[in-house]
């Protein structure tokens, strides 16, 4: 009897969708600087900016069209004093891949993302704008197969030399062999 009750509770928990937690309401005066930065880059990029939002103090998320990321980074270098890149992440969204540049300007983490098609995973490099991104681009290329056009030496960074070509471990369609 007890077993079936437990099982009932488990199946109910599985059926119920996870509670939709809204992001905590941040008072507008705390994110004034971030909001003004988003407005500024919206004006500059115009059509190229697909989405810009402030998640919380010191976190901005911008989504741009794949060719426009260099323009955005150059603007940030000229106007926001950008010189530091924390890292570059690759994401597998299912039908497309995405590259997220985690930049740091004015002590605010600006996460700039660009979506690229799976079968044509190419995007322009930013090593000439930010030399510190050299190793991060190599890592994303190694693990996701995204090619950074114009990178000085896009070699393997982390996978062993005898890893099969064309196999990208962090893509969702590759499963760890048993």
């Amino acid at each position: 009897m007890i077993m079936s009750e437990e099982k009932k509770a488990q199946t109910e928990e599985k059926k119920a969708a996870p509670p939709r937690i809204e992001p905590p309401k941040v008072e507008p005066q705390k994110i004034q600087v971030e909001n003004s930065m988003v407005e500024e880059i919206k004006k500059f990029l115009g059509e190229d900016l697909i989405e810009g939002k402030v998640q919380r103090p010191r976190r901005i998320y911008l989504k741009v069209k794949p060719g426009a990321h260099r323009k955005a980074i150059q603007y940030m270098k000229d106007n926001w004093g950008l010189y530091h890149i924390s890292t570059i992440s690759g994401l597998d969204l299912g039908n497309n891949l995405e590259v997220v540049f985690h930049l740091n300007a004015r002590n605010i983490e600006v996460n700039l993302r660009a979506e690229i098609p799976r079968n044509k995973a190419k995007i322009d490099t930013i090593t000439d704008l930010l030399p510190g991104s050299n190793l991060y681009e190599r890592e994303v290329h190694d693990l996701f197969g995204i090619e950074f056009r114009g990178h000085p030496n896009l070699e393997k960074l982390e996978l062993p030399e005898d890893w099969p070509k064309g196999v990208y471990p962090l893509r969702k369609d590759w499963k760890v062999p048993e």
Partner: protein, 143 residues
């Protein structure tokens, strides 16, 4: 006969260790180095850590073997002169530990080379490492 006994006595009273990290998180490595510092003092057993495989008797290996280090581990083992012994330090070196099943990991030192003693722990405490080395030496003396 006396010569053999003398050599065995000398060997088991002054093991020269070689430390090799095959992709571990460095936790067990710092505990191995801590075992040599004054609080634990592995050197009172006559053990000393040397950097060259050709001069070592005992290989202290840590880490689940990553693919890049597997070839080096095997080569170091081949370069050591007989008689040689291998101690796998840490849970990762024994079975892969937390990393067993990951795609770039073979899963334990014994997937690459034969092992004589296993020291468990994550990270293995210096007392356990000394215990492991001492037990290995005691086994050798009685053999």
């Amino acid at each position: 006969m006396v010569g053999q006994k003398l050599i065995k006595w000398a060997r088991t009273r002054s093991p020269w260790l070689l430390h090799f990290n095959s992709g571990s998180c460095n936790g067990c490595d710092i505990e191995i180095v801590a075992a040599l510092t004054p609080r634990y003092d592995l050197e009172r057993f006559g053990a000393i850590v040397k950097g060259s495989p050709r001069q070592a008797d005992v290989l202290l290996a840590t880490g689940p073997v990553t693919r890049q280090t597997a070839a080096r581990l095997k080569r170091i083992y081949e370069q050591m002169a007989e008689p040689k012994f291998v101690v796998a330090v840490g849970t990762c070196a024994t079975s892969g530990g937390v990393f067993s099943g990951l795609y770039n990991v073979l899963g334990g030192i014994d997937q690459a080379i034969p092992v004589d003693a296993y020291v468990l722990g994550c990270a293995a405490k210096p007392e356990a490492i000394i215990d492991g080395v001492a037990k290995l030496l005691a086994k050798l003396r009685s053999s």
